[in-house]
């Protein structure tokens, strides 16, 4: 097992080699490095968002006027409720993922598979919600080149708000949604490897931990996307 391997080489001199740097396995460390680079990518998008938003003319939309319905149920009047449901789904799927990792530490194949399938369902539910929200906004006329929503406050109140809103919304939530989609695909692969008994044979469930890191990162990005698009007014 990787834990034992780590413990054995730890005994050597720090500068004579053969020591595991940062006390983490190669695969996990590389996943962290990938996530760090991915964090840079998302940060560049969010930095762009911040800069374009504070300089936007004639002004920005009010989020509670843009996101105020639940598809199929309520047309309007419930601001931010739908995105609240989406946020809850993503946090819940993060919890099932971490429970799968915990079951993996105990070599509990049945529970790893169970929690992986719950995580996959959570991811698919989130993607469906996002598809519904996009459809709703496009039907209302929000596109990359047109913004039907009005500026709520200030000297330009009542004018159509900056078209940058549509650009940034579709690009950033789209990029995040693509990450969720990739995460679901990777989770499905890991689920099938789990039920095939691959990790049981290997003696550890580190792969589950690695996809877990990726999945939590997707949740983490959503926390920031949620704040900048839906909360800040």
């Amino acid at each position: 097992m990787s834990v034992e391997a780590t413990a054995n080489v730890e005994k050597g001199n720090a500068w004579s080699g053969g020591r595991v740097p940062l006390g983490s396995s190669y695969g996990k460390l590389m996943m962290w490095m990938f996530l760090l680079s991915d964090a840079f990518t998302f940060s560049s998008l969010l930095v762009t968002y911040g800069y374009l938003r504070v300089t936007a003319l004639p002004g920005w939309v009010a989020p509670e006027e843009v996101f105020h319905g639940i598809p199929f149920l309520v047309e309007e009047g419930l601001p931010l409720v739908f995105v609240g449901i989406m946020t809850f789904i993503l946090i819940a799927s993060s919890v099932t993922m971490v429970l799968a990792v915990e079951a993996g530490h105990r070599m509990d194949q049945k529970n790893v598979a169970r929690y992986m399938i719950l995580t996959i369902i959570g991811g698919l539910m989130f993607l469906s919600c996002q598809a519904l929200e996009w459809t709703h906004l496009i039907e209302n006329g929000l596109t990359l080149t047109f913004n039907p929503f009005k500026v709520p406050l200030g000297p330009n109140a009542g004018q159509n708000a900056s078209t940058m809103f549509g650009d940034l919304f579709f690009v950033i939530t789209g990029f995040h949604g693509f990450h969720v989609f990739s995460g679901v695909v990777i989770n499905i692969i890991i689920y099938f490897k789990t039920i095939a008994g691959d990790f049981q044979k290997r003696g550890h469930y580190e792969m589950v931990e690695k996809v877990g890191l990726y999945w939590h990162f997707v949740d983490l990005v959503w926390v920031f996307v949620f704040t900048v698009f839906y909360l800040i007014y």
Binding site: S43, V47, V54, V95, E102, R106, H216, V223, F224
Partner: protein, 125 residues
């Protein structure tokens, strides 16, 4: 006879020790799961708090925009801390590992701050 008793008591001790180990293991599993659910409810509570602030005009008008936005950012970073620290397990990794991940991200916070100042300055020209 007495030898036999000693033997059984030894076996009994051994068994008890065995049970202790299993119990300890169960306790560990229990506390890990408890921590997971604790973090889940903290994240949920923070999100609910964010919604309450976002949907209550009285709070928004009372505190003013810059303070409310500051609170939103503080709560967001708090959520990020719980996700990265507990779910991604960074809090229990080596400190050097945590620095490797977190120090580069500090520069992003710096860049965001710079650009927001620059941007809001530009619009007032």
């Amino acid at each position: 006879m007495s030898e036999n008793i000693a033997h059984t008591s030894e076996a009994h001790d051994h068994e008890e020790h065995h049970f202790e180990i299993i119990e300890q293991g169960l306790h560990e599993i229990h506390s890990t799961r408890k921590e997971i659910w604790r973090v889940f409810f903290i994240l949920l509570a923070i999100t609910v708090l964010e919604f309450l602030i976002a949907l209550t005009p009285a709070i928004k008008d009372g505190l003013g925009k810059s303070k409310v936005v500051g609170i939103f950012f503080f709560l967001t970073v708090l959520k990020a801390f719980y996700i990265v620290g507990y779910f991604m397990h960074l809090k229990h990794e080596k400190l050097n590992m945590a620095y490797t991940i977190l120090i580069p991200l500090m520069f992003i916070a710096y860049l965001i701050t710079l650009l927001l100042f620059e941007g809001s300055h530009q619009i007032h020209i």
